[in-house]
Protein backbone atom coordinates (compact mmCIF):
# COMPACT_ATOMS: atom_id res chain seq x y z
CA UNK A 1 0.00 0.00 0.00
CA UNK A 2 1.30 3.43 -0.86
CA UNK A 3 0.76 6.88 0.57
CA UNK A 4 -2.41 7.45 -1.45
CA UNK A 5 -3.88 4.25 -0.12
CA UNK A 6 -3.43 5.43 3.44
CA UNK A 7 -4.81 8.77 2.43
CA UNK A 8 -7.89 7.06 1.05
CA UNK A 9 -8.35 5.28 4.38
CA UNK A 10 -8.24 8.62 6.15
CA UNK A 11 -10.71 9.99 3.66
CA UNK A 12 -12.93 6.93 4.19
CA UNK A 13 -12.78 7.26 7.97
CA UNK A 14 -13.75 10.92 7.70
CA UNK A 15 -16.80 10.18 5.58
CA UNK A 16 -17.81 7.23 7.78
CA UNK A 17 -17.62 9.34 10.91
CA UNK A 18 -19.04 12.44 9.26
CA UNK A 19 -22.12 10.74 7.89
CA UNK A 20 -22.79 8.94 11.18
CA UNK A 21 -22.27 12.12 13.13
CA UNK A 22 -24.70 14.16 11.05
CA UNK A 23 -27.25 11.37 11.31
CA UNK A 24 -26.98 11.40 15.09
CA UNK A 25 -27.31 15.16 15.29
CA UNK A 26 -30.44 15.04 13.16
CA UNK A 27 -31.79 11.80 14.59
CA UNK A 28 -31.70 12.62 18.29
CA UNK A 29 -34.15 15.53 18.36
CA UNK A 30 -36.36 14.17 15.57
CA UNK A 31 -36.44 10.79 17.27
CA UNK A 32 -37.46 12.44 20.52
CA UNK A 33 -40.24 14.27 18.71
CA UNK A 34 -41.62 11.06 17.21
CA UNK A 35 -41.26 9.25 20.52
CA UNK A 36 -43.27 11.94 22.27
CA UNK A 37 -45.96 11.70 19.60
CA UNK A 38 -46.24 8.00 20.27
CA UNK A 39 -45.89 8.24 24.02
CA UNK A 40 -48.61 10.86 24.31
CA UNK A 41 -50.73 8.82 21.88
CA UNK A 42 -51.41 11.86 19.68
CA UNK A 43 -54.29 10.61 17.51
CA UNK A 44 -53.23 10.45 13.85
CA UNK A 45 -49.60 11.51 14.16
CA UNK A 46 -48.80 8.85 16.73
CA UNK A 47 -49.92 6.16 14.30
CA UNK A 48 -47.95 7.75 11.49
CA UNK A 49 -44.86 7.74 13.67
CA UNK A 50 -45.44 4.07 14.33
CA UNK A 51 -45.65 3.22 10.63
CA UNK A 52 -42.60 5.32 9.88
CA UNK A 53 -40.53 3.60 12.53
CA UNK A 54 -41.70 0.15 11.56
CA UNK A 55 -40.98 0.71 7.86
CA UNK A 56 -37.59 2.30 8.28
CA UNK A 57 -36.51 -0.13 10.96
CA UNK A 58 -37.04 -3.01 8.59
CA UNK A 59 -35.46 -1.44 5.51
CA UNK A 60 -31.84 -2.52 4.97
CA UNK A 61 -29.37 0.34 4.83
CA UNK A 62 -28.26 -0.62 1.34
CA UNK A 63 -31.79 -0.65 0.01
CA UNK A 64 -32.73 2.63 1.63
CA UNK A 65 -29.68 4.44 0.36
CA UNK A 66 -30.24 3.15 -3.19
CA UNK A 67 -33.85 4.27 -2.97
CA UNK A 68 -32.86 7.77 -1.90
CA UNK A 69 -30.00 8.15 -4.31
CA UNK A 70 -31.35 6.49 -7.43
CA UNK A 71 -35.06 6.86 -6.78
CA UNK A 72 -35.56 10.47 -5.72
CA UNK A 73 -34.29 12.04 -8.96
CA UNK A 74 -37.52 10.75 -10.45
CA UNK A 75 -39.15 13.61 -8.57
CA UNK A 76 -36.55 16.09 -9.74
CA UNK A 77 -34.81 15.88 -6.36
CA UNK A 78 -31.23 15.35 -7.28
CA UNK A 79 -28.82 14.75 -4.44
CA UNK A 80 -25.09 14.37 -4.29
CA UNK A 81 -23.98 10.99 -2.90
CA UNK A 82 -22.85 12.64 0.31
CA UNK A 83 -26.19 14.35 0.91
CA UNK A 84 -28.07 11.19 -0.05
CA UNK A 85 -26.02 9.22 2.45
CA UNK A 86 -26.63 11.76 5.17
CA UNK A 87 -30.35 11.82 4.54
CA UNK A 88 -30.64 8.08 4.40
CA UNK A 89 -28.69 7.65 7.62
CA UNK A 90 -30.64 10.40 9.32
CA UNK A 91 -33.88 8.67 8.39
CA UNK A 92 -32.62 5.47 9.95
CA UNK A 93 -31.20 7.19 13.00
CA UNK A 94 -34.48 9.01 13.60
CA UNK A 95 -36.42 5.78 13.60
CA UNK A 96 -34.01 3.99 15.90
CA UNK A 97 -33.63 6.92 18.24
CA UNK A 98 -37.40 7.14 18.43
CA UNK A 99 -37.47 3.61 19.81
CA UNK A 100 -34.72 4.36 22.29
CA UNK A 101 -36.46 7.48 23.56
CA UNK A 102 -39.77 5.71 23.66
CA UNK A 103 -38.54 2.84 25.74
CA UNK A 104 -36.96 5.33 28.14
CA UNK A 105 -40.30 7.13 28.30
CA UNK A 106 -42.23 3.91 28.82
CA UNK A 107 -40.00 2.71 31.60
CA UNK A 108 -40.20 6.12 33.19
CA UNK A 109 -41.67 5.82 36.65
CA UNK A 110 -45.23 7.05 36.25
CA UNK A 111 -45.70 7.97 39.87
CA UNK A 112 -42.93 10.53 39.59
CA UNK A 113 -44.61 12.09 36.63
CA UNK A 114 -47.85 12.14 38.56
CA UNK A 115 -46.05 13.74 41.46
CA UNK A 116 -45.05 16.50 39.09
CA UNK A 117 -48.65 16.83 38.01
CA UNK A 118 -49.86 16.84 41.58
CA UNK A 119 -47.39 19.56 42.43
CA UNK A 120 -48.92 21.82 39.85
CA UNK A 121 -46.34 21.51 37.10
CA UNK A 122 -47.84 22.15 33.70
CA UNK A 123 -47.02 20.08 30.66
CA UNK A 124 -43.94 22.03 29.63
CA UNK A 125 -42.45 22.19 33.12
CA UNK A 126 -43.05 18.49 33.60
CA UNK A 127 -41.26 17.78 30.36
CA UNK A 128 -38.42 20.22 30.91
CA UNK A 129 -37.61 19.64 34.57
CA UNK A 130 -38.80 16.12 35.34
CA UNK A 131 -39.06 14.03 32.19
CA UNK A 132 -36.24 15.22 29.95
CA UNK A 133 -33.33 15.19 32.41
CA UNK A 134 -34.07 11.62 33.42
CA UNK A 135 -35.06 10.24 30.05
CA UNK A 136 -31.97 11.83 28.60
CA UNK A 137 -29.74 10.05 31.07
CA UNK A 138 -31.36 6.70 30.65
CA UNK A 139 -31.21 7.05 26.86
CA UNK A 140 -27.54 7.89 26.55
CA UNK A 141 -26.30 4.29 26.50
CA UNK A 142 -28.90 3.39 23.89
CA UNK A 143 -28.10 6.42 21.81
CA UNK A 144 -24.40 5.69 21.80
CA UNK A 145 -25.05 2.09 21.00
CA UNK A 146 -27.08 3.36 18.07
CA UNK A 147 -24.06 5.42 16.98
CA UNK A 148 -21.96 2.27 16.83
CA UNK A 149 -24.65 0.66 14.69
CA UNK A 150 -24.61 3.62 12.34
CA UNK A 151 -20.83 3.47 12.06
CA UNK A 152 -21.07 -0.22 11.35
CA UNK A 153 -23.69 0.33 8.69
CA UNK A 154 -21.61 2.97 6.96
CA UNK A 155 -20.21 0.54 4.37
CA UNK A 156 -23.65 0.88 2.80
CA UNK A 157 -22.64 4.28 1.45
CA UNK A 158 -20.08 2.63 -0.79
CA UNK A 159 -22.97 1.36 -2.90
CA UNK A 160 -23.51 4.86 -4.21
CA UNK A 161 -19.82 5.40 -4.71
CA UNK A 162 -18.86 7.27 -1.59
CA UNK A 163 -15.39 6.39 -0.46
CA UNK A 164 -15.85 4.91 2.99
CA UNK A 165 -13.38 2.71 4.82
CA UNK A 166 -14.64 -0.51 3.30
CA UNK A 167 -14.65 0.86 -0.21
CA UNK A 168 -11.14 2.17 0.27
CA UNK A 169 -9.99 -1.28 1.38
CA UNK A 170 -11.77 -2.88 -1.51
CA UNK A 171 -10.27 -0.56 -4.11
CA UNK A 172 -6.79 -1.17 -2.84
CA UNK A 173 -7.39 -4.89 -2.79
CA UNK A 174 -8.71 -4.80 -6.32
CA UNK A 175 -5.61 -3.02 -7.53
CA UNK A 176 -3.01 -5.05 -5.66
CA UNK A 177 -4.88 -8.36 -5.83
CA UNK A 178 -4.03 -8.77 -2.16
CA UNK A 179 -7.44 -8.30 -0.53
CA UNK A 180 -6.52 -9.26 3.01
CA UNK A 181 -4.07 -6.55 4.15
CA UNK A 182 -6.31 -3.59 3.28
CA UNK A 183 -9.35 -5.36 4.75
CA UNK A 184 -7.47 -5.83 7.99
CA UNK A 185 -6.47 -2.19 8.05
CA UNK A 186 -10.13 -1.30 7.53
CA UNK A 187 -11.06 -3.66 10.34
CA UNK A 188 -8.60 -1.99 12.66
CA UNK A 189 -9.99 1.45 11.90
CA UNK A 190 -13.54 0.34 12.65
CA UNK A 191 -12.45 -1.33 15.84
CA UNK A 192 -10.80 1.86 16.98
CA UNK A 193 -13.88 3.96 16.22
CA UNK A 194 -16.34 1.54 17.78
CA UNK A 195 -14.13 0.88 20.78
CA UNK A 196 -13.93 4.60 21.42
CA UNK A 197 -17.72 4.81 21.32
CA UNK A 198 -18.09 1.81 23.63
CA UNK A 199 -15.57 3.38 26.01
CA UNK A 200 -17.61 6.56 25.98
CA UNK A 201 -20.76 4.57 26.64
CA UNK A 202 -19.24 2.70 29.56
CA UNK A 203 -17.87 5.91 30.97
CA UNK A 204 -21.25 7.60 30.77
CA UNK A 205 -23.06 4.57 32.16
CA UNK A 206 -20.82 4.57 35.21
CA UNK A 207 -21.33 8.28 35.71
CA UNK A 208 -25.07 7.98 35.36
CA UNK A 209 -25.27 5.04 37.69
CA UNK A 210 -23.30 6.80 40.39
CA UNK A 211 -25.39 9.93 39.98
CA UNK A 212 -28.75 8.24 39.96
CA UNK A 213 -29.62 4.97 41.55
CA UNK A 214 -33.16 3.72 41.25
CA UNK A 215 -35.50 4.80 44.00
Amino acid sequence: MNFYDYLSFVYGAVSTIGVSFIAIIVGIPLGLGLALLRWAKVPLLGKCAYVYVSLVRSCPAVTLIMLIYFGLPQFEISLSPLVAAMISFSITATAFNCEIWRSALLSFDRSQYEAAQAFGMNRWIRFRYVLLPQVWRSSIPGLINEMTLLVKNSPAISVIGLLDITRAAQRIGARTYEPIPPLLVGFAIYIVIVMLLIKLQKHLEVRIRSAQEPL
Binding site: C59, A61, M66, L67, F70, Y190
Partner: protein
Protein backbone atom coordinates in the same frame (compact mmCIF):
# COMPACT_ATOMS: atom_id res chain seq x y z
CA UNK B 1 -43.54 5.86 -11.47
CA UNK B 2 -46.42 4.31 -13.33
CA UNK B 3 -48.16 1.03 -13.94
CA UNK B 4 -45.75 -0.15 -16.58
CA UNK B 5 -42.97 -0.09 -13.98
CA UNK B 6 -44.89 -2.61 -11.94
CA UNK B 7 -45.53 -4.57 -15.10
CA UNK B 8 -41.78 -4.83 -15.59
CA UNK B 9 -41.35 -6.19 -12.09
CA UNK B 10 -44.12 -8.67 -12.74
CA UNK B 11 -42.46 -9.78 -15.95
CA UNK B 12 -39.22 -10.28 -14.07
CA UNK B 13 -40.98 -12.22 -11.32
CA UNK B 14 -38.68 -15.19 -11.74
CA UNK B 15 -35.68 -13.29 -10.49
CA UNK B 16 -37.76 -11.58 -7.80
CA UNK B 17 -38.93 -14.96 -6.55
CA UNK B 18 -35.38 -16.29 -6.60
CA UNK B 19 -34.35 -13.26 -4.58
CA UNK B 20 -37.12 -13.78 -2.05
CA UNK B 21 -36.26 -17.45 -1.71
CA UNK B 22 -32.62 -16.65 -1.15
CA UNK B 23 -33.33 -14.01 1.48
CA UNK B 24 -35.89 -16.22 3.17
CA UNK B 25 -33.62 -19.23 3.38
CA UNK B 26 -30.70 -17.10 4.58
CA UNK B 27 -32.81 -15.51 7.27
CA UNK B 28 -34.43 -18.72 8.41
CA UNK B 29 -31.29 -20.77 8.60
CA UNK B 30 -29.09 -18.12 10.15
CA UNK B 31 -31.88 -16.93 12.44
CA UNK B 32 -32.38 -20.34 13.98
CA UNK B 33 -28.74 -21.34 13.92
CA UNK B 34 -27.63 -18.15 15.63
CA UNK B 35 -30.13 -18.67 18.46
CA UNK B 36 -28.88 -22.20 18.88
CA UNK B 37 -25.19 -21.28 18.87
CA UNK B 38 -25.94 -18.25 21.01
CA UNK B 39 -27.48 -20.51 23.63
CA UNK B 40 -24.50 -22.81 23.47
CA UNK B 41 -22.07 -19.91 23.85
CA UNK B 42 -23.88 -18.12 26.69
CA UNK B 43 -22.86 -20.38 29.59
CA UNK B 44 -19.23 -19.78 28.56
CA UNK B 45 -19.58 -16.20 29.81
CA UNK B 46 -20.12 -17.64 33.26
CA UNK B 47 -17.38 -20.22 33.04
CA UNK B 48 -15.06 -20.54 35.96
CA UNK B 49 -12.13 -20.93 33.57
CA UNK B 50 -10.57 -17.55 32.86
CA UNK B 51 -9.42 -18.12 29.30
CA UNK B 52 -12.80 -19.52 28.25
CA UNK B 53 -14.52 -16.40 29.55
CA UNK B 54 -11.81 -14.25 28.00
CA UNK B 55 -12.07 -15.73 24.54
CA UNK B 56 -15.87 -15.65 24.35
CA UNK B 57 -15.80 -12.04 25.42
CA UNK B 58 -13.11 -11.30 22.88
CA UNK B 59 -15.12 -12.97 20.12
CA UNK B 60 -18.26 -11.05 20.99
CA UNK B 61 -16.58 -7.68 21.15
CA UNK B 62 -14.80 -8.36 17.87
CA UNK B 63 -18.18 -8.97 16.25
CA UNK B 64 -19.68 -5.93 17.94
CA UNK B 65 -16.90 -3.79 16.52
CA UNK B 66 -16.83 -5.01 12.96
CA UNK B 67 -19.25 -3.94 10.27
CA UNK B 68 -21.06 -6.89 8.80
CA UNK B 69 -20.00 -6.12 5.23
CA UNK B 70 -16.34 -6.03 6.17
CA UNK B 71 -16.76 -9.32 8.01
CA UNK B 72 -18.35 -10.81 4.91
CA UNK B 73 -15.43 -9.67 2.77
CA UNK B 74 -12.97 -11.25 5.13
CA UNK B 75 -14.83 -14.55 5.06
CA UNK B 76 -15.39 -14.50 1.32
CA UNK B 77 -12.09 -13.15 0.01
CA UNK B 78 -9.86 -13.72 2.99
CA UNK B 79 -10.46 -17.32 4.00
CA UNK B 80 -9.47 -18.77 0.59
CA UNK B 81 -5.91 -17.62 1.35
CA UNK B 82 -6.03 -20.20 4.13
CA UNK B 83 -7.46 -22.87 1.92
CA UNK B 84 -11.08 -22.48 3.06
CA UNK B 85 -13.07 -21.78 -0.03
CA UNK B 86 -16.84 -21.55 0.46
CA UNK B 87 -19.07 -20.58 -2.41
CA UNK B 88 -20.79 -17.23 -2.08
CA UNK B 89 -24.04 -18.47 -0.56
CA UNK B 90 -22.22 -20.57 2.03
CA UNK B 91 -19.84 -17.71 2.76
CA UNK B 92 -22.78 -15.42 3.32
CA UNK B 93 -24.51 -17.92 5.52
CA UNK B 94 -21.40 -18.64 7.57
CA UNK B 95 -20.80 -14.92 8.01
CA UNK B 96 -24.40 -14.36 9.12
CA UNK B 97 -24.35 -17.23 11.58
CA UNK B 98 -21.00 -16.42 13.17
CA UNK B 99 -21.73 -12.70 13.37
CA UNK B 100 -25.21 -12.99 14.81
CA UNK B 101 -24.47 -15.90 17.15
CA UNK B 102 -22.13 -13.54 18.96
CA UNK B 103 -24.94 -11.00 19.25
CA UNK B 104 -27.39 -13.65 20.44
CA UNK B 105 -24.91 -14.74 23.08
CA UNK B 106 -24.68 -11.16 24.31
CA UNK B 107 -28.48 -10.95 24.41
CA UNK B 108 -28.81 -14.18 26.36
CA UNK B 109 -26.11 -13.18 28.76
CA UNK B 110 -27.89 -9.96 29.67
CA UNK B 111 -31.18 -11.84 30.04
CA UNK B 112 -29.43 -14.29 32.31
CA UNK B 113 -27.98 -11.53 34.45
CA UNK B 114 -31.40 -9.89 34.65
CA UNK B 115 -33.17 -12.89 36.15
CA UNK B 116 -33.87 -11.87 39.75
CA UNK B 117 -31.17 -13.38 41.91
CA UNK B 118 -33.67 -14.65 44.45
CA UNK B 119 -35.35 -16.88 41.89
CA UNK B 120 -32.09 -18.55 40.94
CA UNK B 121 -31.12 -18.78 44.57
CA UNK B 122 -34.39 -20.51 45.33
CA UNK B 123 -33.34 -23.06 42.71
CA UNK B 124 -30.03 -23.63 44.46
CA UNK B 125 -31.68 -23.72 47.87
CA UNK B 126 -34.05 -26.40 46.65
CA UNK B 127 -31.21 -28.55 45.42
CA UNK B 128 -31.12 -27.67 41.71
CA UNK B 129 -27.65 -27.52 40.21
CA UNK B 130 -25.66 -27.62 37.00
CA UNK B 131 -27.53 -28.93 33.99
CA UNK B 132 -30.83 -29.41 35.85
CA UNK B 133 -30.71 -25.81 37.07
CA UNK B 134 -30.08 -24.58 33.54
CA UNK B 135 -32.67 -26.84 31.95
CA UNK B 136 -35.49 -26.40 34.44
CA UNK B 137 -35.06 -22.88 35.70
CA UNK B 138 -32.48 -20.68 33.98
CA UNK B 139 -33.11 -21.88 30.43
CA UNK B 140 -36.86 -21.28 30.15
CA UNK B 141 -36.62 -17.94 31.93
CA UNK B 142 -33.70 -16.89 29.78
CA UNK B 143 -35.48 -17.69 26.54
CA UNK B 144 -38.72 -16.05 27.53
CA UNK B 145 -37.04 -12.92 28.81
CA UNK B 146 -34.87 -12.60 25.72
CA UNK B 147 -37.71 -12.95 23.22
CA UNK B 148 -38.13 -9.25 22.38
CA UNK B 149 -34.39 -8.76 21.97
CA UNK B 150 -34.11 -11.89 19.87
CA UNK B 151 -36.88 -10.49 17.67
CA UNK B 152 -34.91 -7.29 17.21
CA UNK B 153 -31.85 -9.28 16.29
CA UNK B 154 -33.83 -11.26 13.73
CA UNK B 155 -34.83 -8.01 12.11
CA UNK B 156 -31.15 -7.10 12.07
CA UNK B 157 -30.47 -10.42 10.37
CA UNK B 158 -33.00 -9.61 7.68
CA UNK B 159 -31.33 -6.28 7.11
CA UNK B 160 -27.81 -7.62 7.10
CA UNK B 161 -28.79 -10.19 4.51
CA UNK B 162 -29.10 -7.31 2.05
CA UNK B 163 -25.34 -6.78 2.21
CA UNK B 164 -24.77 -10.19 0.72
CA UNK B 165 -25.78 -8.80 -2.66
CA UNK B 166 -22.36 -7.22 -2.71
CA UNK B 167 -20.70 -10.63 -2.82
CA UNK B 168 -23.17 -11.64 -5.55
CA UNK B 169 -25.62 -13.57 -3.45
CA UNK B 170 -28.79 -13.06 -5.43
CA UNK B 171 -31.08 -11.83 -2.65
CA UNK B 172 -33.99 -9.41 -2.79
CA UNK B 173 -31.87 -6.28 -3.03
CA UNK B 174 -29.63 -7.82 -5.68
CA UNK B 175 -32.64 -8.95 -7.68
CA UNK B 176 -34.16 -5.50 -7.75
CA UNK B 177 -30.82 -3.86 -8.36
CA UNK B 178 -30.41 -6.10 -11.35
CA UNK B 179 -33.87 -5.21 -12.65
CA UNK B 180 -33.42 -1.49 -12.16
CA UNK B 181 -30.05 -1.46 -13.88
CA UNK B 182 -31.61 -2.98 -16.96
CA UNK B 183 -34.91 -1.12 -17.04
CA UNK B 184 -33.88 2.09 -15.25
CA UNK B 185 -36.82 2.16 -12.86
CA UNK B 186 -34.96 2.47 -9.56
CA UNK B 187 -37.69 4.13 -7.55
CA UNK B 188 -40.29 1.45 -8.06
CA UNK B 189 -37.73 -1.30 -7.66
CA UNK B 190 -36.43 -0.15 -4.31
CA UNK B 191 -39.86 0.78 -3.01
CA UNK B 192 -41.05 -2.73 -3.76
CA UNK B 193 -37.88 -4.16 -2.23
CA UNK B 194 -38.41 -2.02 0.88
CA UNK B 195 -42.00 -3.21 1.17
CA UNK B 196 -40.92 -6.82 0.85
CA UNK B 197 -38.46 -6.35 3.70
CA UNK B 198 -41.23 -4.69 5.68
CA UNK B 199 -43.44 -7.71 5.22
CA UNK B 200 -40.60 -9.94 6.41
CA UNK B 201 -40.16 -7.85 9.52
CA UNK B 202 -43.88 -7.56 10.23
CA UNK B 203 -44.07 -11.34 10.12
CA UNK B 204 -41.20 -11.57 12.57
CA UNK B 205 -42.85 -9.01 14.84
CA UNK B 206 -46.11 -10.90 14.69
CA UNK B 207 -44.50 -14.16 15.74
CA UNK B 208 -42.43 -12.48 18.41
CA UNK B 209 -45.47 -10.72 19.82
CA UNK B 210 -47.40 -13.98 20.02
CA UNK B 211 -44.58 -15.67 21.88
CA UNK B 212 -43.98 -12.61 24.03
CA UNK B 213 -47.60 -12.58 25.10
CA UNK B 214 -47.24 -16.17 26.23
CA UNK B 215 -44.01 -15.32 28.00
CA UNK B 216 -45.12 -12.11 29.66
CA UNK B 217 -46.80 -13.58 32.71
CA UNK B 218 -44.14 -16.23 33.05
CA UNK B 219 -41.05 -14.13 33.49
CA UNK B 220 -41.58 -12.48 36.89
Amino acid sequence: MNLSDFQIIYDERDSVITGIQTTLSLVLVSGLASVLFGLILTPLFFSKVGWVRGSIEWLCSAMRCSPFLLFVYVIYFGLPSYGINFDKYTSGLVAMIVYHSAYMAIIFRSAWVDIPAEILEAGTAYGFRGATLIRRIIGPLLLMRAIPMVGNQWIQIVKDSAYLGIISVFDITAAFNSIQSIYFNPFVCFIVAGLLYWVFCLLIELIVNLVARYARERIA
